[in-house]
């Protein structure tokens, strides 16, 4: 029996572990951590073997489907894209689980933690392995639900409960868009078949959807005088879902607050499971995106904007975890940009974006786990109170510096020597250059370079403020136990070398996702449908383009060193409430105020979500005001319910009379 026949076990084992841990964990030592660890380790081994097999023969993707009902199915699909994602998710999740045995050892509800994280992992794995959009959506919702549970893990803390709710509700906006996209897609496909779907055809399966792309692209509906292409509509709705899940502007607001959960959960969310789901969705449906006019442009521009937007905020945060959170948003922006530039480079875009996703998973998990290690030992996450931690925790400091170098993207252009972040981020920036050169506009390229500079500044600011200099407050602290440092070291190894070692194979491998025994997509042909011009092969850029990312990376390091390491500038003057720029940044562009204001008008739902929060925290008067309007509307409706039965009768009779008149009038008009 081939290893591929066991692929279904990949999501199933962690799901099983969830059940076992939930019911037995209380009685086992360490909250039954061993169950999910073994399960996820097995999943990892299977994924790895499948990936290796696919590397030998990328044509033979694994696809097994069972009919679920009518024209829908359940099934698994392991193609190169899914395989690398599965391997990465199970691997990072495994390391985080091992690390958690140390990190969570003092928590009474350990068993609940391990149960929920293994369900989280299971949902994510099942999301990746889905061979149809509906199953993907179901897993998508499960991921959202688990994140709600985990962010609110310490539900006794009001901040945690509120952050959990915020995460759930904000991503829910995206989910509604995603669902709307699926419903539109379903209705369109149904129409293409004239409602008579032959047996054995599952219309929401990816190969089926992809094979209908030309027909879908030909459909359009006039909306407000514009001809809206259905494929564009569907892909943009999908992208809306991805915006919510992957924390792109403007739905990123939940990500920084999601820090309220345990740090390991943040690592899981930011590196392996939740936020990458959005990127994965876009990558998975990439043939639809590239055939849809304008969709990839939106993806590229929004991605680039998010990258710089989040980076500017990363510079002014003082909370260790918040800096990392904004860094994640920024890097996700890069990944989206990487997909968006597919408009210029075709299927390779999926390769470079997923490559960055994987590298990012390694170094971001490392960053979070290091931060967790520091917090665990020192007990604070305010960087202003830290300093000189490197002396106390040498291993943590060393691994964290490696991660920082990887994030900043340090390496030598033109060769494959460099930290893993360098290899992948550089590729994206170069692709953005090609994108500009081929008529996509220079905006994404300029922003991505600027964001690279800021990235380097904020991450080294973090390093210098935390690990070097003199301790600013008295704290105890000790190096963390081996169960925590070993995963750190492993991750550091990957952050150091994974990119350099695999860069040759990886892009080619993942780009083959769309050409194999499952689907045979003619990506250039589809790009013509979408009206994109694919560039000739990369590699002809001027030297300065190749070197610029590294130059700004090093420049950022130097600036951070001068300002925070040497302290040649007195930051206290700059960092004050009187400096309008700082104030603007520190208040995160007042985005909470503006966003809530804007959205609650546009999306009543979000307004209400914030209104609920406003009531909880007494937070923001604008929100309060708008929330009150919504609730007042509800209250006003309730006023009709006077409790007097005679009034009820009046309303009934008035309703009857008005309805008669209405029907008579409408019938006359029609």
């Amino acid at each position: 029996m081939a290893i591929g026949d066991y692929a279904f076990l990949i999501p199933l084992l962690p799901a099983l572990a969830f059940v076992l841990t939930f019911f037995l964990g209380k009685k086992l030592p360490n909250g039954g951590a061993i169950i999910p660890i073994v399960a996820i380790a097995t999943s990892f081994v299977i994924s790895l073997l499948i990936t290796l097999g696919l590397l030998q023969n990328p044509e033979q993707v694994i696809n097994q489907s069972v009919s679920w009902f009518a024209m829908l199915n359940l099934g698994i699909l392991v193609d190169p894209l899914a395989a690398v994602m599965l391997t990465m998710v199970s691997f990072v999740s495994l390391l985080i689980h091992i690390y958690s045995t140390g990190y969570m050892s003092h928590d009474r509800a350990q068993y609940r933690y391990f149960a929920e994280t293994s369900l989280f992992t299971a949902s994510m794995l099942s999301l990746i392995i889905s061979d149809n959009i509906l199953q993907l959506f179901i897993s998508w919702e499960l991921v959202g639900l688990c994140s709600y549970l985990l962010i609110g893990f310490w539900y006794q803390k009001p901040a945690a409960a509120s952050a959990a709710k915020k995460a759930f509700l904000t991503t829910r906006i995206g989910d509604v868009m995603f669902l709307a996209g699926i419903v539109v897609l379903f209705a369109d496909l149904f129409r293409l078949y004239n409602g008579a779907i032959p047996d054995g055809i599952f219309i929401l399966k990816f190969d089926e959807i992809f094979s209908q792309i030309p027909q879908l692209a030909a459909m359009s509906t006039p909306v407000l005088g514009f001809q809206v292409n259905h494929l564009t509509l569907i892909t943009l709705l999908f992208f809306g879902g991805a915006v919510g899940k992957s924390g792109q502007f403007p739905l990123h607001v939940w990500l920084p607050d999601a820090m309220e959960g345990p740090t390991t959960v943040s690592a899981l969310i930011h590196a392996a499971t939740m936020v990458t789901a959005g990127v994965y969705l876009v990558a998975r449906t990439f043939p639809m995106f590239i055939a849809a006019p304008d969709s990839l442009m939106v993806v590229a521009y929004l991605g680039a904007f998010t990258a710089i937007f989040a980076a500017t905020m990363g510079i002014v945060m003082n909370d260790l975890k918040r800096v990392l959170a904004y860094s994640t948003i920024s890097q996700l922006g890069y990944m989206m940009l990487g997909l968006g530039v597919g408009a210029a480079i075709g299927a390779e875009a999926v390769g470079i974006s997923i490559f960055h996703l994987i590298n990012h998973a390694f170094f971001k998990a490392l960053l979070f786990l290091c931060a967790g290690s520091v917090i665990h030992a020192v007990g604070t996450h305010d960087m202003r109170q830290l300093g000189g931690v490197a002396k106390v925790m040498p291993i943590t400091a060393a691994t964290m510096i490696i991660a920082a170098l990887a994030l900043a993207g340090i390496g030598i252009p033109g060769t494959s020597i460099g930290f893993s972040g360098f290899i992948s981020k550089d590729a994206i920036i170069e692709a953005a250059y090609l994108f500009g050169e081929n008529g996509g506009g220079w905006f994404p390229y300029v922003l991505s370079i600027a964001a690279a500079l800021l990235t380097s500044i904020y991450i080294f600011r973090l390093i210098f403020m935390t690990f070097f200099g003199k301790p600013r407050t008295a704290y105890g602290g000790h190096e963390s136990p081996a169960s925590m440092t070993i995963p750190l070291s492993i991750l550091a190894l990957f952050a150091l070398a994974f990119g350099a070692l695999t860069t040759e194979r990886f892009n080619k491998f993942v780009s083959e996702t769309f050409v194999n025994n499952f689907v045979h997509m003619d990506i250039p042909g589809l790009a013509e449908l979408g009206g994109y011009h694919l560039a000739a092969h990369a590699g002809h850029e001027p030297l300065i383009i190749l070197w610029l990312p590294v130059i700004v990376g090093v420049a950022g390091l130097l600036i951070a060193y001068l300002v925070y390491g040497m302290r040649i500038v007195n930051m206290d003057k700059l960092v004050s409430r009187n400096n309008p720029v700082y104030k603007l940044l520190y208040n995160r562009y007042y985005q909470n105020a503006i966003l809530t204001n804007f959205l609650s008008i546009k999306v009543v739902y979000e307004g209400l979500a914030f209104a609920g929060r406003a009531v909880d925290r007494g937070f923001d008067w604008i929100v309060d005001w708008i929330g009150n309007i919504s609730l007042d509307a509800g209250d006003a409706l309730r006023q009709f319910q006077t409790g007097v039965v005679q009034n009820y009768a009046m309303i009934v009779i008035t309703g009857v009379s008005l309805l008669v008149i209405l029907i008579a009038v409408v019938r006359e008009v029609l």
């Binding site: 007042d632 209250d635 006023q639 006077t642 005679q646 009779i653 008035t654 009379s657 008149i661």
Partner: protein
């Protein structure tokens, strides 16, 4: 801000008191009546020419009885359950508890 709900409530009650429910009720009932009458007048009703058809036997008791036990026996049987149900219910609800 003590309670917005309260002020809205007060306005509603005062308006309500001002109009007196009778007038409102009258208006609504008249509106309904007007709608019914307009609909009725606008409709051409089918009718037979003369009645009764059978001058010998003006009573229709037999016919009704026949109908009850043939065509409309189901509602008749259901009615027996309705009455039983009403009896059980009415006795239960109206029965005073001891000591009250």
């Amino acid at each position: 801000m003590l309670n917005k709900q309260f002020t809205i409530m007060q306005i509603i009650t005062s308006v309500y008191r001002f109009f007196r429910p009778r007038i409102v009720g009258m208006v609504i009932a008249l509106l309904f009546l007007a709608i019914v009458l307009v609909s009725v007048i606008g409709t051409s009703w089918p009718a037979i020419d003369q009645l009764p058809q059978n001058l010998d036997d003006q009573s229709n008791i037999k016919g009704i009885g026949l109908l009850i036990f043939t065509e409309f026996v189901v509602p008749f049987e259901l009615l027996s359950i309705v009455l039983l149900s009403a009896m059980v219910g009415a006795i239960y609800i109206a029965k005073g508890e001891a000591g009250r």
